[in-house]
């Protein structure tokens, strides 16, 4: 197996285009497991670690641009306060060792329905910056990025360069159910982000359908119920969080598998959606979180 080590982004794109059998590797926390478990035997590994800019972040055009290779540990420390939902998700990924190596770019590249970054990226309305030598840059909205189980909108010659998202405009929460209290792949997960300026609530569901997805009906329901300025300054109407939770549960398309049953997943999503909306709303009224 060849080990390709591009030193610049351009070189990386050129190698990507020239070696369709090469598998990009960043933290390697997915790739190496697959190789060890003989899930794949790639002809080459395309090591993106020497491309240092991928491990950086910046503020640009009022948005945060997080390099595909920024490890979770640094994401939490350096930009966690601006993207609390994503940071909460990052905190639940694996163990400290995994968070020192694992990245958002790798989570997107792997596109496991259980990947923890996806729900907060969906809830926040993030965009994925991808690029190829031939086709140039594309900005893909998170909800268009996931096509199927471990399938994405990324073309064969493209690499993920960064994710873009606005610093939180309101409270955000991420919640994940696993059968262990740490280092566990999600049985199902849920993210919420309040967008007060747009009078809107963003959602993301993980591990309860072939792809991560938004709970569109639940979002619309809340937008309708909370239309108008006054609603956003008051306590949540009775029963609203419950109804929201039910709609989130209904939005999922879960299956029975080794990690849990479909019925449990729907139920747990409803509970998490109700709780996280309640927390977010409390944050908002208390003036904590961002608003």
């Amino acid at each position: 197996m060849e080990f390709l080590r591009p030193l610049s982004w351009e070189e990386a794109l050129a190698l990507r285009a020239g070696r369709p059998d090469a598998v990009p590797i960043q933290g390697g926390t997915d790739v190496m497991v697959e190789i060890n478990f003989e899930v794949r035997r790639p002809g080459a590994l395309l090591d993106l670690n020497p491309v240092r800019e991928l491990a950086e972040w910046e503020m640009a055009e009022g948005r945060l641009r997080i390099g595909a290779g920024l490890p979770y540990t640094r994401l939490i420390e350096e930009v966690g306060d601006r993207v609390p939902g994503l940071a909460q998700a990052a905190r639940t990924v694996g163990s400290p060792q995994i968070r020192n190596r694992g990245t958002v770019g790798g989570n997107l590249g792997a596109a496991s329905p259980a990947g923890d970054c996806h729900p907060p990226l969906l809830a926040a309305g993030a965009q994925v910056e991808v690029e190829s030598a031939a086709g140039g840059v594309r900005m893909i909205p998170a909800e268009e990025f996931y096509l199927g189980v471990k399938r994405t909108a990324l073309r064969d010659d493209e690499l993920i360069r960064a994710v873009w998202l606005r610093p939180a405009e309101g409270p955000q929460h991420f919640s994940k159910v696993g059968t262990r209290n740490a280092m566990v792949i999600a049985v199902c997960s849920f993210a919420i982000a309040l967008h007060p300026a747009e009078r809107r609530v963003g959602t993301g569901i993980g591990s309860a359908a072939p792809t991560p997805l938004r709970a569109a009906e639940a979002e619309e329901f809340l937008a309708g119920e909370l239309a108008g300025e006054p609603a956003w300054g008051r306590s949540l109407p009775d029963g609203l969080a419950e109804r929201f939770g039910e709609l989130v549960g209904r939005a999922a398309a879960p299956i029975d598998d080794v990690r849990g049953t479909a019925a449990y997943r729907r139920h747990a999503l409803a509970v998490m959606a109700r709780r996280t909306l309640t927390w977010a709303w409390q944050d908002r009224l208390a003036g904590t979180g961002r608003s």
Binding site: F37, H173, S175, T179, N181, A182, R259
Partner: protein, 764 residues
Amino acid sequence: MTVEAARRGGEALGDSALRPDGVLKVTGEFAYSSDLWADDMVWGVTLRSPHPRARITGIDVSEALAVPGVHAVLTHEDVPGEKFYGLEHHDQPVLAIDQVRYQGEPVALVAADHPETARRARDRIRVGYEVLEPLTDARRAALDPSYPKVHGDRSNVVRHQPIRVGDMAHARRVAEVVVRGEYEVGMQDQAFLGPESGLAVPAEDGGVDLFVATQWLHVDQEQIAPCLGLPTGRVRLTLAGVGGAFGAREDLSMQIHACLLALRTGRPVKIVYGREESFFGHVHRHPARLRYEHGATRDGRLVYVDAEIVLDGGAYASSTSAVVGNAASLGVGPYEVPNVRLDAYGVYTNNPPCGAMRGFGAVQACFAYESQMDKVAEACGLDPVEVRIRNAVAEGSRLATGQVIDMPAPLAAMLEDARAFPAPPPTGTADVRDLPGGVSNTTHGEGVRRGVGYAVGIKNICYSEGFDDHSTARVRLETVGGEPAALVHTAAAEVGQGLVTLQAQIARTELGVRQVTVAPADTGVGSAGSSSASRQSYMTGGAVRAACEAVRERVIELAEERLGRSLPGASLHDGRVVAADGLAVASLAEVLAGRAVEETREFRHRRTTALDPLTGQGDSHVQFAFCVHRAVVDVDVELGLVKVVELAAVQDVGRILNPLALEGQIHGGSAQGLGLALMEEIQVRDGVVRNPSFTDYLIPTILDMPPMRTRILENADPHAPYGLRGAGEPPTLSSTPAIVAAVRDATGRPLTRIPVRPEHISCG
């Protein structure tokens, strides 16, 4: 030397002597069996069956042999000696012959100069399978004679052990309260961290030297040699660094395979299983279905137990018979029960083979009988601790097997102790890591309820049912650089339990020397028996002590010769011979005068008897050990997530030999029980394992295992060396039912199956 004096020194018996491998393991420098290396070695890999049950219609190895770098490809036809092996029954083929009986059964072997080459060649072996429907219903295998057989004409029942005591018809009339329950225990894995591995080196005498991580060198040797067609003495084993065992290394895995390849290629052969392969490479804990009916008087005294226990042994017998013996003989728990009808079955199916795991048959039964005791308590309106105290055995009690407990068994007092532990404070909501769900941020206190549960267990220590068990130790005392030094040599496997440390502590104390070396364990000395059944402190500890005593006697004789007078009651202390009056009369260096004194001793425990095959009566066990747990849990009752807040244990160990190591055993055993209660299960459907990885086979992390309180009692067993009681297994029994009882207390759910899953709590 007294223990009190020794404690001050720091490394004698009773001290928390530190283990030599501790720092190395924590810093990643310890050499495990997977780190073995020989310059000219080749790599062995195993082709395994994807099917749980199939007829093999043909094996074509030609393409694999053609891969450059491949040195050998072997099938069952290449096994020169016996084609079958096994711990209790020789029913397991070295390589599958004409059929496969479980998913993952070894079919062929490849040796190549690189592991990846070997794997690629393995993938080119063509095996024709005629796939058959797997036989996976253990209860039918036990009870339905028309169920098809897993092994030709042989019965599917590996062992059926009944227990019959008293007059059940009468008992049913007398009982005022009757509770029934059906329980299920999922398949737990030992989940050791160091996968199966070893290095086989062909020797000039035509034999082979095998370096391997195992639990009992000599039983491996006895099984390997006949399959290789070699006399036992030409298969020599040395223990390599063991990364945990818990029973999973009692059966052979890669041992015969590596030796076959080494003898065929004339090169050292290394085999290392990957994590996924490891799940198929060793036996697991028997999954069980248990039906219990308890009859009691209204004041909570047990009148009878009527029970059926079905243990699924999977495709090969392994140690199923002995596991059945434990489940049966300990099946009503540490309680006085005047009338018992109990049937324990161990059966063949096409599920993964099951055998030894910490707790060994006693674990499954304990979950059921302790769940039942809580039901009895509820039905009688009694406190769960109270109902246990009313029925608890004590010294002099008669067990269901008729065996009388002839050692201290202060169970009632232990239960009182457990109840008297202070309650942990309510959990704050400031840090999500303290709440159910932990870092996953699922609750800030919503839906969280506290529960408390108790359980006790009884475990036999040492091998049972008439097995004439022994351990051998060779101890040598000489002067090295002017200092007296002892060398201890046994074949006992250090599997992480701390036996090497203990052997040195014993020699230091018995011989009064500071310098003690424990030689690597190998078959160059007699058998030490298995590192299982919590027996090594007892058996190999006993052997080392006996050998030390023999050395001491000789040394004192030498001193007597030298001084020209007899020294009745003399001992060895601080490098000197000390007369009965406490005065040092000579130094060891003077007495030894350049000579070495070496003695080898075999230690045997007292005899036990078989269980009567019809009534289950017999003095089958050497020793009994007890542990009591109290579990306190917080449960998110809506999401079904559990945080164990505290585990408290009371255990009687007879005599504390190394407090630190002992606490480690209690913590570890309790954690393994926690795993079985809440998360650890190999999920099998139609004979196929669905989660052979640590992604989905979950073991507790530091956020799952709470701090522990322990109270350790020292009521000496007069029959045991130093009065000690084996300590490794008992905590594994009782922590599981205590936790489940606590979750029931918090949720009101029946929870009859372990591991308890979130959906059983929240949606069930």
